[in-house]
């Protein structure tokens, strides 16, 4: 996903001379393509994330479209106040690219788990939060960033991710081709999706690379006779509340999935929509099962796969949580 985004940035920079890329001394074997193509528009700010954000803001105030690149919590939590007071308050065109969302750097330890970033970024006025599920969606998010001014946070996994089924439907498209903002672009990667009028047991809303696990869970559930629909959510903020509500009135159970603490992320955003449904909608809305990281640091390290498993967020864990939720109703 990281190479996909940077390649899109290189391509766009040919058309848009205002684009700049700043790195916090990260992106070895990733950002060099940009540096080589546009050495004057590339800057390694050193291992100094707070300063990098301020410098990006200064460049943005002078008309640049600035992309900053780093990993885990370094471009978010490490420089949170710089993001809030300078970038967001002044509504500047700065896009923060974060590699290593969730447990992508699982073995490296807690400092390298980006597990509160969505919550922190969502809470900032003016900030948009993008979290693509696969390379195809990453290209779409990149095109959205090129065409949408203001502060943006892009949360990527790492490298080597595979496209989810259905990627060909959006491959090569620009956000503008949808005739709608990215907030309305939710995908249905699951192979068998029920007809609009069919009974629907479960509607999954998944953001980021972990959508892969929801896709597998959806297949497994369908073999058990549980019908489900998976929508990926590349745009967590602003969230498409209408789609969430229409799913909530169709399915018997809503399930949110994110590789992030359950406090303040996608699940919380969906929960707000569901909780206020009584005010905004006259139809009953399904209950919500939030799947994410509980309010605790992992006691051990491990691969992304393993940590997902420990927290019941892999396909197997999702299936059993959904089964339990359906049977307790």
């Amino acid at each position: 996903m990281r190479n996909t985004f940077i390649q899109a940035l290189v391509d766009q920079a040919a058309k848009d001379p205002s684009i700049m890329l700043l790195t916090g001394d990260l992106g070895y074997r990733v950002v060099e393509v940009f540096q080589e193509a546009y050495p004057q528009r590339y800057l390694n700010c050193g291992i100094a994330e707070q300063d990098m954000i301020e410098v990006a803001a200064g460049l943005a105030l002078e008309g640049r479209k600035v992309f900053v690149y780093s990993i885990s919590s370094f471009p978010t939590l490490r420089c949170l106040e710089q993001i809030r007071d300078t970038v967001c308050y002044h509504n500047l065109d700065v896009t923060i690219i974060c590699i290593g969302g969730g447990f992508a750097y699982g073995e490296l330890g807690t400092t390298h788990h980006a597990t509160e970033d969505i919550a922190a970024m969502r809470s900032m006025p003016n900030m948009r939060v993008l979290s693509p599920a696969d390379p195809a969606e990453t290209r779409l998010v990149a095109s959205y960033c090129f065409n949408t001014p203001g502060p943006k946070y892009v949360r990527l996994n790492r490298g080597g991710e595979k496209d989810l089924p259905g990627a060909d439907a959006i491959e090569g498209l620009e956000v503008a081709d949808f005739g709608a903002p990215l907030e309305r672009v939710m995908r249905r990667p699951a192979r068998q999706t029920p007809a609009e009028d069919a009974e629907l047991d479960v509607a999954f809303l998944a953001t980021g690379a972990i959508a892969q696990e929801a896709n597998e869970a959806a297949q497994a559930l369908s073999e058990e006779g549980v019908s489900s629909l998976l929508l990926t959510v590349p745009c967590v903020k602003p969230l498409d509340a209408d789609t969430v509500l229409s799913l909530g009135t169709w399915a018997k159970l809503l399930v949110s999935l994110e590789e992030h603490t359950t406090i303040g992320g996608l699940g919380s955003a969906v929960a707000s929509v569901v909780a206020s449904a009584g005010i905004t909608s006259d139809k009953p809305v399904a209950p919500l099962l939030e799947i994410g990281i509980p309010d605790a640091f992992p006691e051990v390290v491990g691969s992304q796969r393993h940590l997902r498993h420990l927290f019941g967020m892999d396909a197997e864990g999702i299936v059993s949580k959904v089964r339990a939720a359906l049977s307790s109703r």
Binding site: D25, L26, Y28, R29, N44, C45, G46, I47, A48, Q50, D51, S73, F74, R78, E107, L108, G109, T110, T111, H112, E299, V300, V301, G302, S303, H306
Partner: protein, 319 residues
């Protein structure tokens, strides 16, 4: 400048010479022979190489760079008792460049704090407490780090607590040179000299490299770190970070009333010829074949390190 002539040539070290206006005082004379830490360093190198290679972990060069510093600290400078790892009198150690964690684990394994086989088997694997970045889940580790610029402020807090409690233990903090890009390092540095935290000793692993290559070329110009610390009110000196006698002498330099910064000039990947100075080894881990070659090179170094001298020992600016 007579003393300077007798001092080891430092031109091979990264970073410019101190400016002529900085007063240069006599270097403390180095002990006649290297302390008995060469063996410890050799075993630690083997552990770092084996642990990172078998698990596919990165940062082996960052660990190898700091091995001699840690061997001297754990082997002959710090008061650290494996029988009593929580001894209230112990010297505190913080690895602020947390990505060199395997070197700390190796030091703890080779000095009896933790089981070596446990480390080699479980480092950087599923369900392990041995995260790539140093973790306080491991006995003997005071602080988990991994976000650069994290350690020095914590070290200041500990040193202040020691003073408030009228305790005599010291705090040793190892940082990376690239890490010195972080503003938090210099915030803590100002506090340390303001509070005259003379029980605080920082060692900068000055290998001249960070994530993309040479520190001063690919990122920020660090220049002379000893001059910078001195201008921040510290006692500071430069030394060869692979010369155990020089390191020991530097770490024991009297620095009354001020915190001490030892700028240890090192080689990233030290001890394995094909890793030395090659940025690839910030990321990659050795294949089986590369590991074999690396281990045989390290084994050859068992003869110990030649006795050396502390270079450019200088007291800091008057407080």
């Amino acid at each position: 400048m007579a003393e300077l002539d007798e001092i080891t040539d430092v031109s091979e070290f990264a970073g410019p010479e101190p400016s002529a206006s900085v007063p240069v005082l006599a270097a403390p004379s180095a002990p006649a022979s290297a302390p008995e830490t060469a063996n410890l360093a050799r075993r630690m190198r083997e552990d770092c190489l084996a642990a990172t290679s078998s698990s596919g972990a990165g940062h082996v060069a960052s660990a190898l760079s700091a091995v001699d510093i840690l061997a001297v600290l754990y082997g002959s400078v710090m008061h650290a008792d494996p029988e009593n790892p929580k001894d209230p009198e112990r010297d505190r150690f913080i690895l602020s460049k947390g990505h060199g964690g395997s070197a700390v684990y190796a030091a703890l394994a080779e000095t009896g704090f933790i089981d070596r086989n446990d480390l080699l088997k479980n480092y950087y694997t599923d369900d392990s407490i041995f995260s790539g970045h140093v973790s306080h889940a491991v006995p003997g580790v005071e602080l988990s780090t991994g976000s650069l610029g994290q350690g020095l402020g914590v070290a200041c807090g500990m040193a202040l607590a020691a003073r408030l409690d009228a305790e005599n233990w010291r705090v040793f903090c190892v940082m990376g040179d690239g890490e010195c890009d972080e503003g938090s390092v210099w915030e803590a540095a100002l506090l340390a000299s303001t509070l005259e935290l003379d029980h605080l000793i920082v060692i900068v692993d000055r290998n001249g490299m960070q994530s993309f290559g040479p520190t001063d070329e690919t990122a920020l110009k660090l220049g002379s770190l000893s001059e910078k610390f001195r201008s921040f009110g510290w006692a500071a000196l430069d030394c060869d970070g692979h010369d155990h006698a020089a390191l020991k002498a530097a770490l024991e330099t009297p620095h009354g009333g001020q915190p001490l910064a030892v700028i240890a000039h090192t080689v990233k990947g030290k001890g394995v010829s094909f890793m030395e100075g090659d940025i690839r080894w910030h990321y990659d881990s050795a294949s089986k074949d590369e590991l074999r070659r690396a281990l045989s090179e390290v084994a050859l170094q068992d003869g110990g390190f030649p006795a050396g001298t502390v270079v450019r020992a200088q007291e800091g600016a008057e407080a």
